[in-house]
Amino acid sequence: MTAAIDVEAALARMVEQLRPALKSKPLMIGIHTGGAWVAEQLRRQLGLQEPLGTLDISFYRDDFTRVGMNPQVRTSHLPVNVEDRHLILVDDVLHTGRTIRAALNEIFDYGRPASVMLACLVERGGRELPIEPQVVGERVKLGKDQHVKLLGPEKLELRIQEANG
């Protein structure tokens, strides 16, 4: 068990980094499930009026032929047209970058946004794709056999677990 991450402080840092982007009236989109929780917190703290978009990237995973369908797929929901909108894409933990790749593909099946900014609560290294976040709540260095898990949605809590622990 590594030291716990202070979620409130991480969220506060994200809010500060996101403020300048509000000028372009961005649409916030959270990735199921943890990303949507984080996005909802950010939306409230930033006072965004527009409802949140949510994405379930199960249909866009690159390991579908190996692991099959996730039986708990939720419906992706984008409240407005993304065409020409500035988007803030929110996820809880950024690791390999494959989830973000899938999310970007899905977003472009809804339209052509003006820009996409990536915001994540935890950035943990281990990228396998050229994807970098613009907004980061907390950076941690973790080994391959360690997992970060976000618990929620009422009170957000980050746990670091050993794979064999």
Partner: protein
């Protein structure tokens, strides 16, 4: 027929041949997955990449418009490449056997066959002879089964009427010749509806139909009384040999679903029909086009349900099978195929 054929060693659905033998959990998993595919049809770009690079062959030995089209749209929305073959019009008429047709199409690297055939058991036969990485969906075999129709009917009922346990349901019409009825009965019994009735003249009821756990009625007054769902069937004149009904006029008078007969059912009952409809024979236009009809939504749901079935059986090939390349798989299968033909 051997239902074990549908599952792989780990109990995952590998082919969909019949609803018989599917667990309640498997049926609900298919319906839940279909629910998430509904939204894809409502988007600007109605396409997701799950089956990109896969080849689906719609192999229809019997004509069909709705089923073939919805399978085709479903596969295309999943980004698969789709080939439609109406075999009645080509090889079969030149004398090629069913398995030879399949082997030739396999040699073209087909991943999934959607098969419709006038003979009961055709899809099972094919499933027994294809190599491990090839999947089969039965799109109707003789009088035996039409599982995706049964599943889309379950999806329709759940969307419009909610939990199955509280529902009284009547299946009306040509039960005898209907693979749709058989699939519906297996699904509804597995899902545990409160009451299931079949309504038809004695000549169109299979013998011992009660063994399936249904109540048989020969009068619409008994059959429709208080039901929540009326599932109409098409009168299959092309499968009838001899006189099953006295006349079409009399059949409509006794068993045609008119507004007056529908009034026997619950006030908010829904009316379903797998299509194509014989208006004025088993169903009155006033009912088919009326406010209680969910016949067109059934078609729309059919796409999502077929997407769900394709995605579930095509996804997650267990690692052990995944390591064998296609080429090595076809090398090992050729001699086995020859042995079977002896």
């Amino acid at each position: 027929m051997n239902q074990g054929l549908q599952f792989d060693d780990t109990g995952r659905l590998r082919h969909l041949l019949t609803i018989e033998g599917l667990s309640r959990q498997t049926i609900l998993e298919i319906l839940d997955t279909a629910e998430s595919f509904i939204s894809v049809g409502e988007r600007e770009i109605k396409k997701i990449p799950l089956l990109r690079g896969k080849t689906v062959v719609n192999l229809f030995f019997e004509s069909s418009t709705r089923t073939r089209t919805t399978f085709e749209i479903a596969a295309k929305r999943l980004s698969a490449d789709v080939i439609n073959l109406n075999v009645g019009a080509s090889s079969a008429s030149k004398g090629e056997t069913l398995l030879d047709t399949i082997r030739n199409l396999e040699a073209m690297h087909t991943d999934l066959f959607v098969v419709r055939h006038a003979e009961s058991g055709a899809a099972h036969l094919i499933a027994r002879h294809v190599p491990a990485h090839v999947r089969i969906i039965n799109a109707g075999d003789g009088r035996h089964a039409h599982p995706t129709q049964g599943l889309l009917d379950m999806f329709t009922i759940r969307r419009h009427k909610g939990a199955f346990e509280k529902l009284k349901i009547a299946i009306v019409g040509d039960i005898m010749h209907s693979r749709v009825a058989r699939s519906q009965i297996h699904a509804l019994k597995t899902l545990g509806v409160s009451e299931l009735r079949v309504v038809a003249p004695k000549t169109l009821l299979p013998t011992a139909v009660e063994k399936l756990g249904v109540r048989s009625c020969t009068r619409m007054e008994d059959g429709l009384d208080g039901v929540d769902v009326v599932m109409m069937l098409r009168l299959q004149r092309e499968r009838m040999q001899g006189a099953h009904i006295p006349s079409e006029h009399e059949y409509f008078n006794l068993y045609g679903l008119t507004p007056a007969k529908l009034a026997l059912a619950a006030k908010d009952a829904i009316v379903m029909h797998p299509g194509p409809m014989n208006r004025g024979l088993e169903i009155d236009s006033a009912v088919a086009d009326g406010p209680q009809s969910v016949i067109l939504p059934q078609v729309t749901y059919g796409i999502a349900v077929r997407m769900a079935v394709m995605a579930l059986i095509m996804g997650g090939t267990p690692a052990s099978q995944d390591t064998g390349t296609r080429d090595s798989a076809s090398n090992t299968r050729a001699p086995a195929g020859r042995k079977k033909r002896k």
